[in-house]
Each structure stands twice: as structure tokens, then as C-alpha cells.
Symmetry: C2
Subunit: 340 residues, 2 copies
DNA sequence: TTATGAAAATGAATCGTTTCAATCACCCGA
DNA sequence: TCGGGTGATTGAAACGATTCATTTTCATAA
């Protein structure tokens, strides 16, 4: 059914080698022949078989990208940035979501290995990078996304999460909040861990401020809503007056629960800070103060690094990019009244 | 660098054919041999080369999915549903976003053809399906997603958009709104066109109700905000008192502009209805009334249909699934006061 | 002991593209 | 007219997994 170079060659009255040359290095082929072959391709509707091409090349022109949660707009933005930059260099990006599951993460990596991707971009779950070591040893470059590589053994493009945690906590403290809650989890996700650490460091250095940790199983709106319910059910004297959520989805969920109840108001009773600055944080019931990460730029940069590593091969230099997060202040901490 | 079946065969002391059998039909191989081969695979870290496998098979085990906008949570949900169902059947889904550009849509289809995908799922831009005909003629099944196939020449999984438009407009009319605005575009997107038609049919049948069309170039939050500005700038007497936005992103943007201005309130001055029921519609400044589409189910069903077509080959039966949309009423039309 | 058949294992051919050493065509200067 | 050189073209080998017709092995019945 499918047309192959062989048939194109027959139609154009040339050899298969020539057809291949027309496809890949037209400058070495005479103009007349290029035209003949182009006509044959057009006539027969020939489409290159990428599998055969890859087989010969030994690897594909796809990068594999593993994100923690495809439904989180933050990761969609990262993906978008990566996709575009890759496309500009003749590569495509296969995106998979690990959904914070180690098993799924492994399956995706299996898949990418079978597909012989030209490189792996991954926002890994935890600190055991042995699987990634193996992949790189087999010749496939790996770049960590949204997560630093402690020992610099991998290239990475990340944001300083500890600093992000500090910024958020400091902001709450500056507003005079004393009973701060950190919402997020699982702790096995390093980003969450670091944001918590940052917050802890600020609270520890602040007189009579206390930090309580409200763990969640995932970083979703639904989990956020559940935490909101839990907060509503607390005794007033132990209820937090400032909440730092590990991402905007959680913050959105918490906000929803609080607002729907009608008994607690944001930011008067509870000030709320999120993380990521997804587009929807701005259009929330109460626009959410958040810590901005340059999502698209992270994606773009990660692909750039990967391209360089792929280019360099064996003796590639590891690069560490660390962006600095920025606080975006909105009504969920400062209130519309105070703001204007 | 990479280990091939040949080396595994040597290590295990068997032939390559046997290794392949162990991989694909272990039941025809003696248990002892299976163990030997498994040990060799483990020892050498062998990973199947999918390109070679595909080359032989003539097609891959990937489906290609083209959505209109990867950043729209609605399509992410569709993708998620498709991804999961595909994975359960041993397939994977390559997702690409056409970003409402015909050129990009074409590029993605080129890519999918080169990759010899086992099937195409597409939310096509316009009604010229000739490209899709060609793809199907070459033996690759095609299923339209979120869009019916007028003449039933393609299988499709969609939602009745005309009905959705009717529901939304009827709701606004029932609330006593007379000057209705439809926001959305480009009209080349059939879904938008149909929703508009539905709204028109209701308005046409309602005494002294008028419909004005506010076109947009895309269905994004940003465009929505621009429309919001435009509405704010209108003379009060020609300003709409009810808005039907072609999707929730637009609605969110419009809402943002109106609320930020502080001069017009929702729903008192303007009632607002969106479309899709994305998760963020519920957590908006004013929770948005919207028309729900069963996103994940659409994705799942589409893959089911594709699997059946792929199975059946030539003489596949075309299937048309049309879901019925449902109105989800929230404060953007009914107001918190009236609601409780 | 030998014949018989089932089970297991083999290995060559195949998929479609790319690469590269070898060949061919052609022009120019001697 | 011939040799040398350049540019264009050729065709066979290679990539790695799968398939299938063939061969080998082995247990059992005669």
C-alpha cells in the first residue's frame, strides 16, 4: 500500500540512492534530476518512512519529556516551550505524564528507550537517579527539568525552590501572620520538599511564628479542596492565618473551599500564597498571590541544553541553569481594599 | 553501543529467531530456554528497538492526536482520556496542538504520516477534509474528535454543539436578558460556528431579543480580556446584558476585564455563560455558568472507535457518537444571592 | 531398535532508508 | 585525440526485529 523510495526511483528512472540524495542533500544532485524525482514523489504521494530512517540512524529525532502532571498548566507551559524550541531544530517532543507515580515514570522511560529518543527531559519524582544514569550510560543525554542535580552529575534547568519557599513565607510573615501552614505533598517530590525547607528557614528565624505542615497525596485542586475542608473544621485558635500552598492548583482548591463555606474570608482571616503563577491564579475568585516560575523559558532552555549535549556526545559539559522565582502579589494576601 | 537481539542470542547460546520468540510468543519456547534468554537480556540490558520492529510491521503502535489548543484544559482532559485508554490496549498517543493554524495542523499530519501512526484522532480546523481522505485511503484510520462528520464518511465522536448553543442562549433568555452577545472565533472553527447557530436559533424565536456577534481571533483568556475591554467601552444602551462565550477561557478573560474595571458587575449587569466546564470555571472570581462536555469520555470513546477501525481494516463500519451537552449553572448567571 | 509425530529451535529473507565506495558522463586543456 | 578531473549517479551493504519454512530433538509406540 505504502510507496517506498524504490517505486519513486523506478517512476523517475533513477536509482534509490539518488532519490535519497534528493531527499537529504539536494545540492549534490543535478537540478534536472531533482525535478524528475520531485515530480515522481508528488505523483505517487510518497511519504518517508521514519522507522526505516531511524533504524539506519540508530536514534530518532524525538526527545522524550516526562512531567509530573500533564493537567497542571505549569507543565503545559513548560511543554509548550520545549515543543516549540525542539521543532525549530527539527526535533519533536513526546510528552508523557508520570502523574506522580514511580511506576508510570518507569513505564514512560521504558517507552522512550524503546523509541530510541535522542534525549530525555525529565522532572523526576525522587532523588534516586540510578535509572537515569543507566540511560545516559547507554548514550542518551538526560536533562533534569524543574529540579536541580545536587552533585551536578546531570545537566539541569530549574528554579531555586528553597528561595521560592523563603519568598512566600517571608511575605506572609511581613503581613504579620504568625500561624503559617504549608500545604503540599508527597514529600518524595523534591520540589515540594525544598519549598517547605525554605518556608521553615524563615519561620524558624521569626519570633513566635509557627509552621504546621498539612500533607497532601497530590498537588491537585481536589486535594486542595479537601485541605480547605480540614482547615474549616479546625478549632479557631489553632487555625492558620497564613497558608503557603506548594502549587497554584492546591491554592485554588483551598480557596474554593474557604470561599464556598462563607465563614472565613481571604485574605482577612487567612492569607493565601500559591506557587507557579499559572494563568488561572489571576482569574480566581480572589486572585491568588503566587511565586512565579518562568515555565516556557524552562522548557526552551532545557531543550537548548539537550541539543548541546546531543551534539557534544561523550564529552558533553554539564550545565546547571537555576532561575530565580519572583513573588507576584495579588488580593489573596493583600486584599482589594488595601491594594488600591 | 546499543545491544541487539543478535548479541542476546550469542550470550544465551540460541538463535535470533528464538530470542524473538521469547519476546513475542514465549509459549512456543521451552521454559528452560526462556529463562536462559531472559537472563541474557537482563545481563546485557537489552532494550527492543522499536524502529526495527515498526519497519517490519509496516506501522507503529502510536496513535496521533491533533487538538486545537494544548493549553486549553478541555483538550488536556480529552488527551488524558485518550492516553489512558490507548495505554490499556498497548498503544501510545502522540499529541500535537494545531494552535488553530492550518499550517501547523498540516505539519502535524505530515509528521504522523512519516511516523506511520496506527491511526489519527483529530479535531480538525475546517470542513475541507480532503487531506484526511487521503490519509485514510493510504490505510490509516481517522476519527474526528469533538466534531461531527456531516456526511458520516468518517467516524466521529462529538458533542451536539448546536444544542449546546441553544441551551446557553435559552438560559440567558430565561433570565430575562434581551441584548445577547456571542463571543468567539474564528468562524472557520466549526464548533464555534455551530454554537453560534444554536444561539441564533433561540434568539430568532424570542420577541425583542437581539444577538450581536463579537468575533475573536482565538479562543484564549487574552482574547477574552480584550473583548471585555471592548464591552466596557460600549455605550450603555448598546452594551449586552448577557454574554455567551464560545469557551471557558474566553469567559474567564471577559470576566477578568469586567471585574477588574469595577464598573460592571456579573451577573447583575451582565450575565455570562461559558462552554466546556473546565475545572477552573468553578474557581473563577465569579464561578462561571457553562455548558459541560464530557471531555475524558470523548477521548476514551474516540480511541475505542479507532481501535475498532484499525482492527476491521478495509471494511470498517463508520460510527458516529454524539454526546449531549449539559448546562451547569453557577453564579455568573444566577448570582450568589438568588442562588442560596 | 526403529518409526512417527509433536515440540523446539533455526536462519535466511524481509521491511525502507541511508551511506559510501565505485563507476560513469562529460568537459577542458594539452 | 587523449588524459585528467569534476560532478553526477549507482548499487550493494547495513541498521535490528520478525516471520516462516525447514531442520533438529526427543519421547513414545510399535
Amino acid at each position: 500500500m505504502a510507496v517506498s523510495v524504490k517505486e519513486v526511483a523506478a517512476e523517475a528512472g533513477v536509482s534509490v540512492g539518488t532519490v535519497s540524495n534528493v531527499l537529504n542533500r539536494p545540492q549534490v544532485v543535478s537540478e534536472r534530476t531533482v525535478d524528475k524525482v520531485a515530480a515522481a514523489i508528488e505523483k505517487l504521494g510518497f511519504v518517508r518512512n521514519d522507522a526505516a530512517r531511524q533504524l539506519r540512524a540508530g536514534h530518532s529525532r524525538n526527545f522524550g519529556l516526562v512531567v509530573l502532571d500533564a493537567r497542571n498548566p505549569f507543565f503545559m507551559d513548560v511543554t509548550q516551550g520545549a515543543q516549540r524550541r525542539a521543532l525549530d531544530n527539527g526535533y519533536t517532543v513526546l510528552m508523557g505524564s508520570s502523574d506522580s507515580s514511580l511506576t508510570t515514570e518507569g513505564q514512560l522511560l521504558d517507552l522512550f528507550e524503546e523509541q530510541r529518543v535522542a534525549g530525555v527531559l525529565i522532572s523526576p519524582m525522587h532523588s534516586d537517579l540510578s535509572r537515569l544514569w543507566k540511560i545516559r550510560d547507554s548514550g542518551t543525554p538526560v536533562v533534569l527539568v524543574d529540579r536541580g542535580s545536587g552533585d551536578r552529575s546531570f545537566s539541569s534547568v530549574s528554579v531555586n525552590d528553597v528561595e521560592g519557599g523563603r519568598i512566600a513565607a517571608q511575605h506572609l510573615v511581613d503581613l504579620g501572620r504568625k500561624r503559617i501552614a504549608f500545604v503540599g505533598g508527597p514529600q518524595s517530590i523534591e520540589q515540594v520538599q525544598h519549598r517547605l525547607e525554605g518556608a521553615q528557614s524563615i519561620i524558624a528565624g521569626t519570633a513566635d511564628a509557627v509552621l504546621q505542615y498539612l500533607p497532601t497525596a497530590q498537588l491537585t485542586v481536589l486535594e486542595g479542596r479537601a485541605v480547605g475542608e480540614r482547615i474549616l473544621a479546625m478549632e479557631p485558635e489553632q487555625r492558620p492565618d497564613g497558608i503557603f500552598a506548594a502549587n497554584d492548583l492546591l491554592a485554588l482548591g483551598i480557596l474554593q473551599a474557604l470561599v464556598m463555606s462563607g465563614s472565613l474570608s481571604v485574605p482577612e482571616d487567612i492569607a493565601l500564597v500559591g506557587y507557579d503563577n499559572i494563568a488561572f491564579a489571576e482569574s480566581a475568585v480572589v486572585p491568588i498571590t503566587t511565586v512565579r516560575q518562568p515555565a516556557e523559558e524552562i522548557g526552551r532552555t532545557a531543550v537548548d541544553v539537550l541539543l548541546r549535549e546531543a551534539e557534544a556526545g561523550e564529552d558533553a559539559v554539564r550545565e546547571q541553569f537555576v532561575f530565580t522565582p519572583k513573588l507576584v502579589i495579588r488580593e489573596s494576601t493583600v486584599g482589594a481594599d488595601n491594594a488600591s
